[in-house]
Symmetry: C2
Subunit: 465 residues, 2 copies
């Protein structure tokens, strides 16, 4: 692949960047919230919107049904017969917009605002994952528009349930094993080290979630008529939550640490050498420093140590004013981030056991689970990983950092498990992008350099034998 051709492609990207931004804005206006069925039509509309875009670029499109939201599949062959096949993964669904009142502008009305890096695009999904998906889509567009061809054979798989736990992805992968055959998978929803330094994520935590409701009395009680003589379900649930961690942040669920690898001195040195900016990292979210397991650094806590967090809790009267009630039941949603060989099902069983064993007399509980993903680590020897590094080197002066990521991408584990494919995780998010929070944004420079990087990575991937 001549670098002249790549230069023409990246120039084309720059010249047409405003159009790329406009297309992303159009996509972001569709509130494709997968966790809430009232948005089902919008989720479908977001898939079809991207399907139309890809069809116009000469991709073959399939909207493949699942028991939940469909997967948008697209394929375009390269004229280069020897080129490898790369399967690009992303998702077209987004997190819910709430709490709406904490957004400066409406989550589904994208706006460009000034930022410390120039300009940023603010909207739900601006980064996670629509903005990130656009980095490779627009790179494909540039190659096709400039060279009339793609350097590699490209398959694209965009799911619509990543934000609700990718519950149907494993089934989809199994059912479409043949269709999805490829040499490598490229996954986009990861971050940069900083605004000037690209990163490839080589370690991802897994996840398992649970929703639990405990029930005591058979109805809500007047706190005056019963208070003092019955166990309050909210107190009971609070007491169990308070026992989830000891004082050092160690999780107390039985056998929770089975399969968690011990960190060797070399790996610990590698983490120490990152010189993580704790002050900046926690300062940005209004905290003076790290909490959690005292003997680990922040990158270790976030990338290679497991967690257990309550994501929501509710019970009793939560409206305006006061209601002197003892609620009949109390509920929570929790999720655990997993590492190494931790097994989601075994963790889930032990969560149930943990709560059951601590239930007061006469109490019952119910537990349900909506998603899980295996933890994963990528081999550093992979020629595809090296090609991605070479592509990033073409765009950035700073060398690429190999990092971990605290969040889960259930797809990556399932792609490895079902398709036998390693995933190269290269994305252009920043830690202050507010994903899953109000005022989510994506820096326009990240979008632009992301597109340019993917154009270069495509060229380097084509050379892998």
């Amino acid at each position: 692949m001549t670098s002249t051709k790549l230069d023409a492609v990246t120039s084309h990207i720059d010249d047409n960047f405003n159009n790329s931004v406009d297309r992303l804005i159009e996509w972001l206006k569709i509130p494709s919230v997968s966790t809430d069925s009232q948005f089902d039509e919008e989720v479908l509309r977001a898939a079809n919107w991207m399907g139309d875009q890809l069809a116009a670029l000469g991709f073959e499109i399939k909207l493949i049904k699942t028991p939940g939201h469909p997967v948008l599949y697209a394929e375009r062959k390269s004229a280069n017969q020897d080129a490898p096949t790369a399967l690009y993964y992303g998702h077209y669904d987004v997190q819910p917009g709430d709490p709406f009142e904490l957004w400066d502008t409406a989550p589904f009305e994208p706006v460009i605002k000034d930022s410390k890096y120039g300009k940023k695009l603010v909207a739900r999904g601006a980064q996670d994952d629509k903005g990130q998906v656009m980095t490779f889509i627009e790179a494909f567009r540039a190659w096709i528009e400039v060279a009339g061809d793609l350097p590699c054979n490209i398959k694209i798989m965009l799911e619509g349930e990543e934000e609700s736990g990718s519950a149907n992805l494993a089934g989809f992968l199994k059912a479409n094993n043949e269709l999805l055959k490829a040499d490598v998978c490229v996954v986009c929803d990861t971050g940069m080290w900083d605004i000037d330094t690209p990163a490839i994520t080589y370690a991802l935590r897994g996840i398992v979630d649970a929703e639990i409701t405990i029930k005591g009395p058979n109805r809500d009680l007047h706190s005056g008529m019963y208070g003092g003589a019955v166990i309050n379900p909210l107190h009971a649930l609070a007491s169990i939550v308070a026992q989830l961690h000891d004082e050092n942040g160690t999780i107390q669920i039985d056998n929770f640490y089975n399969g968690v690898p011990e960190l060797g001195p070399e790996e610990r040195k590698q983490f120490a050498d990152l010189n993580h900016d704790d002050e900046g990292f926690f300062g940005e979210i209004g905290l003076s420093g790290a909490a959690g397991e005292k003997e680990y650094t922040t990158p270790e806590k976030l990338w290679v140590r497991p967690t257990c967090d309550v994501n929501g809790m509710w019970g009793g009267y939560t409206g305006k004013g006061h209601k002197t009630v003892i609620a009949a039941q109390a509920s929570l949603k929790l999720s655990c981030r997993l590492v190494g060989e931790q097994d989601p099902q075994s963790i889930l069983d032990n969560i149930e056991k943990f709560f059951t064993e601590r239930l007061p007399k006469d109490f019952t509980m119910s537990i349900s689970n909506s998603g899980r993903g295996l933890p994963i680590k990528l081999s550093v020897d992979s020629p595809y990983l090296q090609a991605a590094i070479a592509g990033l080197d073409h765009e950035f002066d700073n060398p690429t950092k190999l990092i971990g990521m605290g969040g889960s991408i259930p797809a990556v584990g399932q792609i490895k498990e079902t398709l036998g494919l390693d995933s190269v995780m290269v994305g252009f998010g920043l830690s202050d992008d507010n994903i899953h929070s109000p005022n989510e944004k994506y820096e326009l420079t990240c979008l632009q350099r992301g597109i340019r990087s993917h154009a270069a990575i495509l060229a380097k991937l084509a050379d892998v034998k």
Copy 2:
């Protein structure tokens, strides 16, 4: 007062009972929820509805403004110049209807259903307090319709904020001290001992409530990107709630038990002699027995021991599906039931101190309070109390029990404090009336015998010199 006249009145009550029920149903259809401002117009409508009823009975009516919901005041003098003046207190506001999905029929569409005692009226407020208020209103109506006069001078004061903490009642009482002058106060929102045994409540717990929000990070966080390295506000709040009581149910707030009287051997014997039916009492709400302070009986726990209960708790994602978020903040509403000389303000200060002292680093908290009521005990020597007992003896074969009540009636403390009036608390609720819960009901037999009892009590009160 001749018993012939009283007999004519009670016959009239029985003959016209269906009309009494119809009037109550009409009142119950008005959703006068005082804790939620979206019901403000309905609250006013409920006051005016009763105002019209009383005006038609020859009462002078005043709807007296407060900073919150108005107080409905009514007055009708007796031809009997020597008769004492009785001030009747009740409230025209009701608890919220939620959780609506747990009602068998809509809370504000009253229905008459079969019950183990004959028939019951099911609706929010059926007992608390519209049904109970109707017992004395309909007794007045019967006296006026039969005798053309009331045996005593009657003043009525119905407030609209009892369910939201009676925040403006104290100010109202102070501002209308002269208007409200009376010899005794009669309060209706209390219960019977059982379906055949009337009760007069001589001890009421006080109350103080608080709403608390604790805040950690300055925004909601992605649990993957931050989980394990930050303190989760929901865990922090759960941990504080878990510390509110020790294993024996003893409340750990500083100086909480200051002013709580020790129970002497005689009082403990009196409680023991009640032979409280723990099995039935807890069985009815799906529990096998009592919790709480081990060294006290259930009546002691409910009537003369203080409590601290979380009435609602919330934070993070509580919608459908799962959202992997670490919430920036977590909130709760709690209330304490008070006895003896416990001071609401001091308790409130110590609640704030309890939470503040346990806040993790970098956390802040806010606390607000919406209502309070002093604990109270009535003197057994009161001639008005004795008159009430005589009136109940006229209606019931079983002797009247003098009991305590776990719930608070803030008005009773404020009436004593501001007007210097003792309150005779006589009501016809049953413990299974589901007040503050779905499917609230009032037995029609309780309504009917309540009206008859109040007619008799009026006759006995007239004889007090």
